[in-house]
Subunit: 327 residues, 2 copies
């Protein structure tokens, strides 16, 4: 059983150090920080709840802590901003041993280094199910901020990286009969990579008219950016970028009628729209950052999201991004 105070003290010892922008860190009633005076402060919060967002047997505590941070700062990146600070609320069962908590803390620490953010606040509660609630604070220049709203008919629709890997990786993790050789897909699920540099670059060059990170599936997240503007989108199924690893094993899962590349969540790739004249520059950014960026369709005046199959026919979309194909 873990004494909350001693756990907090251990956390404070490992985090308590003054640094640029942090006037007062962990250990007081509130943290006190400075942001650049000419920027907007971005704030977002996201939770990972045991047996809802993750199963403890399938993810290590360090991976879990890192993922919770990654998911939250991904939202700052999707605004074109730079994440700066993190507050972490952890609900922790007293059944856990100290080793688990130490690994969780180690995961937080290494993720802060990886993502160049600082933990400035936290809260440890008892809870029968583990939960991690991360608030991320960042900043962005007012004129560079990229909202979900802003896509115009005729804008091209782009997505970074490959889609469906995370959902497939989760299916593989859940299927105990599958052997080795799926590290790439599993890793895409356990260790998502927020596209901070890309989001920032698109914002700085003012190339994106709207942007979101793909957390709940391509179709659903595309609906989110188009519906805010009262427009729609048309994307081609065959253009949706998938990884070699995805292509090699998707047939083993296709009998359930779901298409992870369309409806699978947690890829945290960036989905954004850009006027056609941005196409060339986006290609250069893709090369410079060595991040695949794929044009998958365009924004329409008609306020619906359509997915065209290989025969250029509209595929029927089930609710919430789940897709059923007839081909």
């Amino acid at each position: 059983m873990i004494d909350e105070l001693s756990a907090l003290r251990r956390i404070e010892e490992r985090f308590h150090k003054a640094s640029k922008g942090v006037e007062l860190g962990i250990g007081d009633d509130a943290a006190a920080v400075r942001f650049d005076t000419d920027k907007l402060v971005l704030a977002t919060t996201d939770s990972q709840v045991e047996d809802v967002h993750f199963v403890k047997s399938l993810i290590s505590p360090a991976e879990l802590a890192r993922k919770a941070v990654a998911v939250s700062i991904s939202d700052v990146g999707a605004m074109g901003g730079v994440p700066r600070f993190i507050l972490a609320s952890v609900g922790f069962s007293e059944k856990e041993d100290e080793g688990y908590l130490d690994e969780l803390i180690s995961g937080f620490i290494s993720s802060l280094r990886e993502f160049k953010v600082e933990l400035i606040g936290g809260n440890l509660s008892s809870s029968n199910k583990l939960f991690l609630d991360i608030t991320a604070l960042g900043e962005v220049e007012p004129n560079l901020m990229v909202k979900r709203k802003g896509a115009n008919p005729g804008d091209l629709i782009f997505v970074s990286g490959t889609l469906g890997d995370s959902a497939l990786g989760l299916k593989i993790l859940q299927n105990k009969e599958m052997g080795d050789g799926y590290e790439f897909l599993i890793n895409r699920h356990l260790r998502p990579l927020p596209r901070l540099a890309l989001g920032r670059e698109l914002a700085v060059e003012q190339l994106a008219t709207s942007m979101i990170d793909v957390s709940d599936g391509l179709v659903l997240d595309l609906e989110r950016i188009t519906s805010q503007q009262g427009v729609g989108g048309r994307i081609e199924f065959l253009q949706i970028p998938t990884s070699k690893e995805y292509d090699e094993c998707i047939h083993q899962f296709s009998d359930d009628g779901s298409y992870p590349a369309l409806s699978g969540g947690e890829d945290y790739e960036l989905l954004f729209t850009s006027p056609p004249e941005g196409r060339g520059r986006i290609g250069e950014i893709s090369k410079n950052l060595n991040i695949r960026i794929t044009e998958i369709g365009y924004v329409t005046e008609d306020a619906v999201v359509q997915v065209l199959n290989k025969n250029a026919e509209e595929a029927s979309l089930r609710q919430r991004g789940f897709v059923h194909f007839n081909n």
Copy 2:
């Protein structure tokens, strides 16, 4: 069963309005806000977890939402700051009906009005136990911020309001055999009042050398402010302010050896230290704000917290603020 998207839409509809300082509210990947450029940004997070911090049968959803907000902004007030924005992460069981969620939302809305803060972000997760995790953002002038650290030997120790009411109110709520007539104490538990105006006034007049809100009991929280500075404190049991209602019924609970006024949590009164020359001005502030402020002891060089009983003998303190008296 509640569809998460429709719930979120309902929340957005009820909160989505532009206002001073909010460039972008709920409904995007992150909110974007402005703070006064010459101030520090204060950030703090606090959780309320079902069956840990509250029992659903004893608190209404509206009271629960309000209390979660109150507890979190109380930390901003205890820095001498002004709370501005709230992010709310709610873990919500699908067993709940929509009525419960609506009442929770109503509680949030009225608390935002009561405390003059704005909800700028949120997250709704499924969770078998209800939890509310509130991040509060506020601001304070760098030279006016009051930390936990800063108490000097010889400083007087003050506390606002009365202590132990909340803990006693909870005991009464839990005891089904107790009749009516305890509304004051129960209300102190269910509807805590963060001392925002007092905290701000003490900061603006630079009267407090250290300050904390009493969330976990007087002794423990006094240890928190003294230990940060490497000093101690000596307080007199008979000076500890208690309410008439507390005095009238504490005898019914004293057989368990605990003293809620010393060790009971969740009063959210302000505990602060001040040089002796501040005494007069503190008395005036008490009158002006109509808030009882009581001098209960003084800061010592000796780095321990002592509680003196009516014979001026030191009472033995059990761990974590629980106190055992021999008189």
